[in-house]
Symmetry: C4
Subunit: 181 residues, 4 copies
């Protein structure tokens, strides 16, 4: 893992990204939904995804989660990362349009990473539609790039590194850890 870059044909488009939106279930998780006898749900996230979300924000690239389901478990994770989450979004495009209006962005400046059919409208709407490695066939078909790793196992990390690299922010992240080797 690591060192993933967009192909040359995509880099210019990716360089213009000013907002990175991520689906949650199947994108930041490996699709697993755990329930216990008491009805409590658990979600599993990837530590490297979270780290990259924080890097992006500190480097100046806002990251948001836009998810169709409401999960308190996921909410705790996003609060811990201090990443804004829009859960229970029946219309993901509406959420993204509102965010764009607030931040004076256009849809072409938004990257969206998703995995399943409910992500299709947002993928068709945004400027840089991205899919996790194990996304549904129709989601991959609607995306310009697929991460090498599946959802919940580093897909978001790879997408974020690739966007940071294309936008020229990746070296800022590396400096924090002693710079490029």
């Amino acid at each position: 893992m690591g060192g993933v870059r967009f192909p040359a044909a995509l880099r210019q488009r990716a360089a213009g990204v000013r907002l990175l939106a991520l689906d949650s279930d199947g994108t930041l998780t490996d699709r697993g939904m755990c329930w216990d006898d008491a009805g409590l749900e658990t979600r599993r996230f990837d530590v490297r995804d979270g780290l990259a979300m924080q890097w992006a924000v500190r480097a100046g690239l806002p990251v948001v989660v836009v998810s169709g389901r409401l999960s308190r478990a996921a909410g705790h994770r996003f609060a811990d990362l201090e990443i804004p989450d829009y859960q229970g979004a029946q219309d993901k495009v509406a959420v993204l349009e509102r965010l764009c209006a607030e931040q004076r962005l256009e849809s072409r400046q938004v990257a969206f990473l998703g995995d399943d059919l409910p992500d299709l409208p947002a993928l068709r709407w945004c400027g840089l539609p991205l899919a996790v490695a194990d996304a549904h066939r129709l989601v991959r078909a609607a995306s310009l790039w697929c991460t090498p790793s599946p959802g919940g196992h580093g897909a978001a990390r790879e997408a974020i590194e690739a966007v940071l690299e294309a936008t020229g922010l990746w070296n800022k992240v590396l400096e924090r850890y002693g710079g490029s080797p």
Copy 2:
């Protein structure tokens, strides 16, 4: 994942399916049963399986879970999906026969997806016996089709998409997300 269809020889049979019955442990889960120190059990389900179960119901194809074990954890999941579950079914065929009588269906109109030996009688009884990719050898032998994905990792999703496609209901699902590409 996605785009899975029945082979031509099975499509006519699948087109007649009016009830889809699913085993739980090993079919909707990856066979994992988690226990904590306090004796609480946890089950892991796949978000895409659940979404497809809801699509099927909304498109007019009833889905039920028929499981040999009683699991409160699984019960919470099925309640969340609003899918009827018949847990603790020592005789799965008896449950299915009762459902058929209530819904005026014949066994040939029922598809059953399972993974292990307790599913054999239901698979032999129903019209469209299906097995998950990692089903027991004897279960695969008793089935007409195996899903590409293993239990708990999209097997039910694939079976549901294939049945919806064969029954002509798949496009109804796609319309919800902006139609076929």
Copy 3:
């Protein structure tokens, strides 16, 4: 999975097995030990392993768990299966010798399935030493047979099916589900 048999050279030895002893962590689990913020542990077991343990007992082949660690979580699982468990066994051979004395068995009538170095003395002592697919190299070297599946993902199920088949009890299990196809 399924249909696993011992090679011809092992079948006579396996036919004499009258007690099947299983390690827990790494053999009945995939080596995972989960801890939460409150200090509660969780263990993950395989539903098919548990089913086979119950089949063996009902068919007349006693099954016991002999484990070096004490885990209340695992204890709940074994209680649910009604399988005797000897946890916290610093000397697994001593436990097995006591069981043999009680049941008037000899060590050559005992099969042991393990995965790691603490299982070595029991494997060297018993008549049918078995290792899970992902056992430590020295454990595999000390065993006469390795299961195709790794620990916690069906290894115990395969070992039990193979022993039941060699002891002539497998058909008794199949009869319960409608007999051999």
Copy 4:
């Protein structure tokens, strides 16, 4: 798994190791961070990693965990193993230098096993930088050796066995289980 040794060119360097430091998330875990509805976190560890950590300590090689995040769940695991953990270490090198001063060691006598960019400074500082199989590309590049197994699935076990073997302590471990075969 098992029987992993350092290549000849590394054995002399490894023979001088007197302190083994391990990262936690992604190294002792498979990067998974689980959250439940109540905000409780869970971490998954590998039973064989923990066993090896205890072997090393008993054989005379101190083991410590140096982690950037604070996790009470992980703390319970390390307390159970009686392994000192330095969590929430924003500067891992500072922690290691303090430990070296206390134990009158030099950085060349320290091995560090890590997986992600926050481990880079410690890897560049220590005498034996090691990476898990699924480490980030830049971490692998900064390490002299990669474990065959990924983090949380035996990577630490392999690193510890290799260090114990190079330092001549491995036979001491084997004697506990009846000696070398």
